[in-house]
């Protein structure tokens, strides 16, 4: 069978549709079926004023974000990832502290 044409042969389409219906098992039917939309609730960080457990906003006068700089080393999970780079080599995740 040739697929060089712009369209698939009807027989191929019918076969594929039949197979698709056979292997289909809708996951969404049981998902969130018994949930309802609840208004008036913001997801964390999606409201304008991040709540910290009281009614004031997240930032405080003593916080100084500008001390940040790049003395930090990531403490996350990236070092458990080994991935292939675009040049074909592979490497474990690592984040080096950056000076300056």
């Amino acid at each position: 069978m040739s697929y060089r044409s712009q369209n698939l042969a009807l027989a191929a389409l019918a076969t594929a549709v039949g197979a698709a219906i056979a292997i289909s098992s809708p996951a969404s039917a049981q998902q969130s079926a018994d949930k309802e939309r609840c208004y008036g609730i913001s997801m964390a960080g999606k409201n304008d004023c991040a709540s910290t457990g009281n009614n004031s906003c997240a930032g405080t006068a003593k916080m100084d974000f500008d001390k940040g700089a790049w003395k930090y080393v990531a403490k996350g999970t990236c070092t458990s990832m080994q991935v292939k780079l675009k040049d074909g080599s592979s490497r474990m995740g690592a984040l080096m502290p950056i000076k300056g």
């Binding site: 219906i21 289909s24 969404s28 960080g45 304008d48 100084d64 940040g68 990832m81």
Partner: protein, 259 residues
């Protein structure tokens, strides 16, 4: 000088002072003594940064976990400085985080981070996308077989896909669901992910080879038949049956247009 240009100038100075602490606070702000002026402006500046960092953390939870809290905070602040909000709507903030990560030197060792940011942003968009009915795959069975060549499949407004050279879905899943992250081997091939929100929950599912081309073609208005031909032209192993099953099962198709 008009009142309008006075206000514009004040707003520009205010914005500059918010983003760069070394900049002078506008003279018109809180004209009490200098120490109080500084302290009060710092409260405002820190509130702004804390809110945006928290919003980015909520939007990019896997990136947050991958690099850790402290690193994420510093990285988010660098992003905020480079790409301050341009809209008053916080839900629209952070769209360019993936692009920022592409050239962000300290994470050059994590080449999959930009694609992870794209995946998390698509999840965010899916969450806020309009609701829509979902078409059932059984509707295809009710069509006369000779009609199959003409039908168009309309994508649900929340449906999108991401083709990546990296196993981003696997990385996302282990960092989202596992208390201890599973190691991921370098031999794992890249993954194409389907992002949908058929009801209220955003779903991520793997897509078979060629499905990305198929979805793009559907979105451009091609018939199912044309889209399948496009996908086959790109990847000979494209499996239309598996792709259709995956799309309908995840609620990615909202409507089947007969012709």
């Amino acid at each position: 000088m008009s009142a309008y240009s006075d206000l514009t100038l004040l707003q520009q100075q205010f914005t500059a002072a918010l983003l760069a602490p070394s900049t002078q606070i506008p003279a018109a702000i809180a004209p009490t003594d200098e120490a109080k002026r500084q302290k009060r402006f710092n409260v405002y500046r820190n509130n702004m940064h804390a809110g945006l960092v928290a919003a980015l953390g909520a939007r990019y939870p896997v990136i947050l976990r991958l690099v850790g809290d402290e690193f994420f905070q510093a990285m988010a602040l660098a992003f905020i400085r480079q790409e301050p909000p341009t809209s008053p709507i916080l839900a629209e903030y952070g769209a360019h985080f993936a692009r920022f990560l592409e050239t962000f030197e300290p994470t050059a060792d994590l080449p999959y981070l930009p694609d992870m940011a794209r995946l998390e942003w698509l999840r965010h968009l899916a969450y806020h996308a309009p609701d829509s009915p979902i078409a059932a795959i059984a509707e295809l069975a009710s069509l006369a077989p000779e009609k199959l060549g003409e039908i168009r499949l309309h994508l649900h407004p929340a449906a999108s896909h991401l083709a990546s050279d990296y196993p981003v879905l696997t990385i996302w899943q282990t960092n989202t669901h596992d208390a201890t992250v599973q190691p991921i081997s370098a031999d794992r091939p890249g993954e194409t992910t389907l992002i949908t929100r058929p009801k209220l929950d955003v779903l991520l599912c793997p897509l078979p080879i060629g499905a990305g081309i198929f979805i793009t073609a559907l979105a451009e208005g091609e018939t199912m038949s044309q889209a399948a031909a496009s996908a086959l032209a790109d990847a000979a192993s494209f499996d239309l049956a598996k792709t259709l099953a995956a799309l309908f099962d995840a609620g990615a198709i909202s409507h089947i247009q007969p012709d």
